[in-house]
């Protein structure tokens, strides 16, 4: 009998805030400018320079706290986290240690431990062979990024699988994007994620030894990395070997995990309150301003879609968690002939999440496609009115995706209107039965299984413009059933 293990994951997410200036100085944030052109005495750590906190960063931090349902500290403070590294100009990073801006809260079923503000490190680039020092490898520091405001979001260890981690991160990313507090672009580094991973035998209360998986720069790699690390830990434990607490790097190309542990002793960050900065006191005005700036968030939007539009939870989630999709859907709903109405919402949502997404590709923003929201709304209304069959409607959608246009005009031009009524359809059904005598016989004998063959025949003949239900009805009438 083998032991079953369960996975325990906590995430630390670093988010670059979208302010005009850096966290503690007035340099503009960098967007690919030449190296070291966005620096000043403060972010270069020159002697005598002093930090002053950016009010807008505090504001964005409060918005994040509100969106994640955190408690906002009426008073928080900054601390110095000390270690030597060339990308850290002062020999310490200004962060928040024991009095963070926000604590508690949760989103998507994962509890948030805390949210705090800090400054980003600079960029260390490996110098080419020409840049070697006495033949040894050298690096070059670019301080443009140094001092960019960061919010660090730390979850409780509530996540139990790579998939759940991915799903949580997607919700968090959408939430932050809707808030407008960050570009949340993993490739560009404005959203970065570390995962603390441990496993334990099912039923054991005590947590296993955790490892930290650092700096994964896409959702796919995060999920892959976590899976690889869970597998590694499980293999170790099954072989009777212990898991060592360490920091790991996951290489997405080779899918290898490598230890980042250096020869140096364990870090002793020697945190102490930053004497150059006064505590941040949150005033009612600041809270009011942050609250007023909050848009509708994905979780709330999903709830509204389920409640007001009676959408299926999965559909509601798909639309709400992908902001651009939800926006497009709501625009279509508003343009639908029946107006913004729950009755039209269900079919429209299904057409959007199934047919449209399949045709456009999962990651394409429909707003960039040829399909106007009003066009899909009209098409779905025509299908509902049986002016066009669902099958023919899909052909209309193919045309809309390819070249845009008006559904009614496309139906007209391509002759895709529904073939309905006894007069037109009955002869086609009759012909189908005649062409398939054996099937007709079985149907007559009460075996309804081969009904599809007849319907298929009719559909072929009518180029999909017939309504399946009506065909069945006519077959029964024809055979006297």
């Amino acid at each position: 009998m083998s032991v079953e293990y369960e996975t325990v994951i906590g995430l630390e997410i670093h988010v670059q805030l979208k302010t005009n200036t850096k966290m503690f100085c007035s340099c503009a944030l960098t967007f690919g400018e030449p190296p070291n052109t966005r620096t000043c005495p403060v972010c270069l750590g020159l002697p005598g320079a002093l930090p002053v906190a950016n009010a807008e960063a505090i504001h964005l931090g409060l918005m994040i706290g509100m969106a994640l349902g955190c408690e906002l500290a009426p008073r928080s403070k900054f601390d110095r986290k000390q270690y030597f590294y060339p990308d850290l100009p002062k020999g310490y990073q200004i962060s928040q240690f024991d009095e963070p801006l926000c604590a508690g809260g949760g989103i998507g079923g994962v509890r948030i431990h805390r949210v705090h503000l800090e400054e980003d490190a600079a960029k260390l680039v490996h110098a080419g062979t020409s840049g070697r020092i006495h033949g040894s490898a050298a690096s070059v520091v670019d301080f443009n990024r140094g001092g960019t405001p960061l919010a660090e979001i730390v979850t409780e260890p509530d996540i139990s699988s790579a998939e759940q981690a991915g799903e949580f991160l997607r919700l968090l990313r959408t939430t932050l994007r809707v808030l407008g507090v960050s570009d949340v672009n993993m490739e560009e580094g404005s959203l970065r994620c570390d995962a603390n991973i441990s496993i334990r035998p099912v039923g054991q209360a005590e947590l296993g030894v955790k490892t930290e998986l650092k700096n994964m720069n896409s959702f796919r790699y995060i999920e892959k990395g976590i899976r690889a690390e869970v597998a590694r830990q499980e293999a170790l434990l099954r072989a009777g070997e212990p898991v060592t607490q360490e920091t790991l790097h996951f290489d997405p190309r080779t899918e290898q995990l490598t230890s980042m542990r250096s020869k140096e002793e364990a870090h002793d960050y020697r945190y102490f309150p930053e004497p150059d900065l006064t505590p941040v006191l949150i005033t009612p005005d600041m809270l009011e301003r942050a609250h007023a700036a909050l848009p509708e968030l994905p979780a709330a939007r999903q709830e509204r879609f389920e409640r007001d539009l009676s959408l299926h939870p999965d559909t509601a989630k798909l639309l709400a968690w992908r902001t651009e999709l939800g926006d497009w859907f709501e625009a279509a709903l508003a343009a639908s002939p029946a107006g913004y109405d729950a009755a039209a919402a269900g079919p429209l949502a299904n057409w959007t999440t199934n047919e449209l997404i399949t045709r456009l590709g999962t990651d394409v923003d429909p707003a960039t496609s040829n399909v106007a929201p009003a066009a899909l709304a009209q098409l779905v209304a025509l299908v509902a009115a049986k002016t066009v069959t669902a099958n023919a409607g899909k052909q209309v959608l193919d045309v809309l995706v390819a070249e845009g246009g008006d559904p009614a005009a496309i139906i007209e031009a391509q002759g895709l209107g529904a073939v309905g009524g006894e007069d037109t359809l009955a002869p086609v059904v009759q012909a189908a039965l005649e062409a398939n005598p054996a099937i007709a016989e079985r149907l007559r004998g009460g075996d309804m299984k081969p009904m599809g063959v007849i319907i298929g025949h009719v559909m072929r003949e009518t180029k999909g413009r017939a309504d399946g239900g009506e065909v069945t009805k006519l077959v029964r009438a024809e055979l006297g059933l």
Partner: protein
């Protein structure tokens, strides 16, 4: 004839205003004196007399100003007494230096100091010790020893210093001049190369109380570049009081006696009698935790210093020792270019902040700070100002205490508790002992600079200490 360099700044300003003195002539006199000095008070002197047109029209009339080396001054060496910053010329200027330039002072030179302001004798400077103009075999005090010696010797009419645990007051006392450590936060720290951020405060040196008040009046003000800076609730006015009637002076019972040289105590007692003669009352006050001040200070200041000095890593500026790997580059650079006292304090401070020791040391010291601040609040409920000797002794011979860090630290016994509480205090010469100046320290509640200056002014007149540079030591 009178020496131009004997004039106080206020007298010189009045003479320039009335047209009796040319600002450039005054600058030149000081510049020549500073360029030729043999006290090692300066680490850099302006190589020519600047165009004083605009400055002479401003309130301070182009009067020259000596600035402690650790104030960053754009394009001018700013080395903080350290080898690691040898030749360093920053791109930025300290706010207080900018303010004073706007008020009409002109930069005469940068003054020698203990390395990163760590010291009480100026013997920790990488650029050599400063000599006391009263006796060239003795120290001027520290860490702002160059500024104090320059002002005392007539090498500058006034100067900027910084005070972390006594670094303005103690050298002012040892050099027989006046020095003010203002309320923490009233003078911007932007551009001051930091020693201990929660304690560092810039202040003026001059040869009389009026000049100190005048210079300070142009120094303070909230600075958006220093988050810990605060506006002074009232403007600084030039003192006029001739008497001390009704003023209640408190002498801390927990801070006197032991360790104070008899000559210093005698001069101090005589000065108290003078105050009584001027109408003041003198009583004992309790500061039960002040005696713990030095212990708390020697945790807090090194802890903050160890962090503030981490930026000297040989990457962006300053000296670097060659090494092929990063850690060796750091450790060699910091070994080769930091002096002994700096290393000592970095080690103490790192230790005090390290895992397992933080609560006992740093957090404990910050709590003692609270107790000391409460002591002062309670004391000021009963007295207006608190008075002590500034330093337990007069200027000591060069080299006398260099081998005993603890003995050196005891120099700050009277000044440190006030620094921990962030309070303003002035040091004022009150007499001589063994022919060397003795200073008294007058401290008040936060933002009580005007009251302190007024009392010091009346007292100064009655004490009639002669600080005229050309007559230094004449009374010995």
């Amino acid at each position: 004839m009178t020496h131009l360099t004997d004039l106080t700044a206020k007298t010189a300003i009045d003479a320039i205003t009335s047209g009796d003195l040319d600002a450039a002539e005054l600058f030149d006199a000081y510049r020549s004196a500073a360029a030729a000095e043999d006290l090692n008070a300066y680490t850099w002197v302006a190589d020519q007399t600047p165009d004083l047109g605009a400055a002479a029209a401003a309130p301070l009339r182009g009067v020259p100003l000596a600035v402690k080396d650790l104030f960053c001054t754009a394009g001018v060496p700013s080395q903080a007494g350290s080898r690691i910053l040898e030749g360093y010329r920053p791109p930025h200027t300290a706010t207080v230096v900018e303010r004073l330039a706007a008020a009409g002072t002109s930069l005469l030179g940068k003054t020698n100091q203990d390395e990163f302001a760590m010291g009480s004798s100026n013997e920790n400077s990488a650029y050599g010790p400063v000599k006391n103009p009263w006796d060239r075999s003795r120290v001027p005090g520290g860490s702002s020893g160059g500024s104090a010696a320059a002002v005392a010797a007539g090498l500058a009419p006034w100067a900027l210093g910084t005070d972390t645990g006594g670094s303005i007051r103690q050298p002012a006392a040892l050099c027989g001049i006046v020095g003010l450590k203002p309320t923490y936060g009233t003078v911007s720290r932007y551009g001051m190369i930091a020693f201990a951020s929660s304690l560092d405060q810039a202040g003026p040196f001059a040869r009389d109380v009026t000049d100190v008040a005048l210079l300070y009046s142009h120094m303070h003000g909230r600075d958006p570049r220093d988050a810990t800076s605060v506006g002074h609730p009232e403007a600084t006015v030039l003192p006029t009081a001739e008497r001390m009637d009704g003023l209640r002076l408190g002498v801390p019972e927990d801070l006197t006696g032991e360790g104070v040289e008899p000559g210093v105590m005698a001069a101090f007692e005589a000065a108290l009698q003078t105050a009584r003669d001027l109408g003041a009352s003198v009583e004992r006050v309790a500061l039960p935790h002040a005696d713990y001040g030095l212990s708390a200070y020697y945790v807090i200041a090194p802890a903050e210093a160890s962090s503030n000095l981490a930026r000297f890593d040989g990457v962006r500026y300053g000296r670097r020792s060659g090494a092929d790997d990063l850690v060796s580059m750091y450790t060699k650079t910091r070994h080769d270019y930091f002096g002994d006292e700096v290393k000592r304090r970095i080690l103490i401070g790192t230790y005090a902040l390290s895992s397992g020791f933080y609560d006992a040391y740093y957090a404990g010291a910050q709590k003692v700070r609270t107790l000391i601040a409460r002591d002062f609040t309670a004391a000021f409920a009963g007295v207006d100002l608190i008075v002590t000797p500034t330093s337990p002794g007069v200027a000591f011979p060069l080299g006398a205490k260099t081998d005993d860090p603890l003995a050196m630290y005891l120099n700050d016994y009277f000044t440190v508790p006030i620094s921990l509480a962030g309070l303003p205090a002035i040091s004022l010469p009150c007499g001589l002992s063994e022919g060397l100046p003795v200073g008294l320290q007058l401290a008040g509640p936060a933002f009580s600079e005007n009251r302190i200056l007024d009392a010091a002014y009346a007292w100064e007149r009655a004490l009639a200490f002669d600080s005229t540079p050309s007559r230094i030591g004449a009374a010995r």
